[in-house]
């Protein structure tokens, strides 16, 4: 028990560092760009329009409110790729600092995932515009959305920590992961309905792809005004916690050796 209390105290002492690092990322992201933070909304909106044009003309899926369907998947999946890809470089990229001072190393990884989360929250503004445009009703169920985001956040934290520590020892991770996210994207129903796939694949994705779980919960709330499927919520939360546990465990085990490899 003692060691956990100590760890929590350390984390608490460094919460300001986490805040500073997150604000650094956000400040620097749009520095010297003409439109600045407007890009956070404009960017997902424009990507969505392109995807909408492509998929409603070239491939036709029978989905009501397709723009909303699309932007939900795109926003959540975008958060996964952005946060984890950034996390990969969180240790190796801060080598100069880690070599000079003692700082809990996971703070850097957590900061990258958190700043991606903040970016994603900005881009919810774009989603809100699409919702208004498509005349979706804002219901009380929307208050459940933060819980869906929390599941993804914890999941990404775990993934991020695992990848960050692996990237210290094997720089290949960054290239492999690129391929993995591409494959993962096509295996996640972002722009197609799950029913468009062959049956065995449907089953496989519903069972093994946690992103499907989270995106579906989000869509149930926003698009279909439904309470998210409790089974999916339980499963999603358990997976998130498990991934977090594995990521944090690997990180804790290897972190003392980072200094020799960065």
């Amino acid at each position: 028990m003692g060691i956990w209390k100590q760890r929590l105290t350390t984390f608490w002492n460094y919460r300001d560092l986490l805040a500073e690092l997150v604000s650094r990322d956000i400040k620097l992201k749009y520095r010297r760009s003409f439109l600045g933070y407007v890009w956070s909304i404009l960017n997902p909106l424009m990507t969505m329009v392109v995807m909408y044009l492509v998929f409603s003309n070239m491939f036709r899926f029978d989905i009501v409110n397709y723009p909303v369907y699309l932007i939900i998947g795109q926003t959540l999946y975008g958060f996964l790729t952005e946060s984890t890809t950034q996390a990969i470089f969180s240790i190796t990229g801060n080598a100069a600092l880690l070599k000079k001072t003692y700082v809990p190393k996971y703070v850097f990884t957590a900061a990258k995932v958190t700043s991606s989360l903040v970016n994603m929250v900005f881009s919810l503004g774009a989603m809100a515009l699409v919702l208004i445009f498509c005349r979706i009703r804002f219901t009380a169920l929307f208050f459940l959305l933060p819980f869906v985001l929390l599941q993804i956040y914890v999941f990404c934290l775990g993934m991020g920590m695992f990848l960050a520590q692996a990237a210290v020892f094997f720089r290949d991770v960054q290239y492999i992961y690129n391929v993995i996210t591409t494959a993962w994207m096509y295996l996640t129903p972002i722009f197609y309905p799950l029913s468009a796939l062959p049956e065995y694949l449907q089953k496989w994705i519903a069972t093994y792809n946690p992103m499907y779980c989270y995106i579906t919960q989000f869509r149930q709330i926003v698009l279909y005004e439904q309470f998210p499927d409790p089974q999916s919520v339980i499963k999603g939360s358990l997976i998130a916690l498990a991934v977090f546990g594995i990521g944090a465990g690997c990180f804790a085990k290897t972190q003392d050796k980072f200094i020799l490899y960065i």
């Binding site: 560092l17 100069a96 001072t101 290949d172």
Partner: protein
């Protein structure tokens, strides 16, 4: 009362016992999977050890000031990193009591794209101080560094001397129990060096323990009461600054 103060003075703040630091000096760095497996298969995954520090014993009591001297590659910075907790000893033990403010070398804690103002807060957070505390001491930091006119300039446009000034002001704005200074003053101009030495002396008088690495033997003799001479990762000599420094200088002349 006096006895208590004396006891406080005698208290050991840094205890390095029999510490060895090992680096993997493999001639080629293996940091990709393919090589790793190829080597693993061929059973060539040997680690060429390099002992940066060997069985170092080092005890520092409260209020002492130690200069650490030695040629390049003798393990001075490694010892400091060990004391800061950045490196873990391979064998042996390091015990620290009290707060440490490591003086970051030449702006390593700075983000080049951020302005000086933003960097002050970031660097403060790295050292573990909260935003409010930094806010309160902001003027003090800027005054000491004498960089009023450059606060909104990105650090990447700073000269190394300017960055070092800022780094020193931030690290010494608090009164840590242990202050670690690593070669950082070499780039400052003369008047700033004087200013820094004065501040270190003040801090010492206030009871701060000082670890000071420098190639300038005069400044070690000027600031420190004790000195530790490292040679190839082992303690060669330790004791009064004057004696150790003159022995060191004599060895260099040979």
């Amino acid at each position: 009362m006096k006895k208590k103060a004396l006891k406080r003075q005698r208290e050991v703040v840094i205890q390095v016992s029999d510490a060895t630091v090992r680096f993997n000096m493999a001639s080629e760095r293996i940091d990709n999977l393919k090589e790793y497996f190829v080597k693993l298969m061929k059973r060539q995954l040997m680690f060429q050890e390099f002992l940066a520090l060997q069985n170092v014993n080092f005890t520092v009591r409260r209020g002492e000031s130690w200069g650490i001297i030695g040629t390049n590659g003798s393990g001075k910075s490694t010892l400091l990193k060990l004391i800061c907790g950045i490196l873990k000893p391979y064998r042996g033990e390091v015990k620290i009591s009290g707060s440490i403010a490591p003086l970051i070398e030449l702006g390593a804690g700075f983000d080049g794209d951020l302005t000086a103002k933003e960097n002050i807060f970031l660097n403060g957070a790295v050292l573990g101080y909260n935003r409010q505390y930094m806010q309160e001491h902001f003027d003090e930091i800027v005054d000491f560094a004498e960089l009023h006119d450059f606060l909104d300039m990105p650090i990447k446009n700073y000269s190394s001397g300017m960055a070092a000034r800022l780094g020193f002001s931030i690290a010494t704005v608090v009164r840590p129990d242990i202050l670690i200074v690593d070669e950082v003053l070499a780039v400052g101009d003369y008047s700033f060096q004087q200013k820094c030495e004065r501040r270190m002396r003040e801090m010492r008088e206030a009871g701060t323990t000082l670890l000071y690495v420098s190639h300038s033997i005069e400044s070690v003799q000027g600031i420190c009461t004790n000195a530790l001479w490292l040679h190839k990762g082992a303690v060669w000599q330790a004791g009064r600054a004057d004696a150790v420094c003159s022995a060191y200088m004599a060895s260099l002349q040979d």
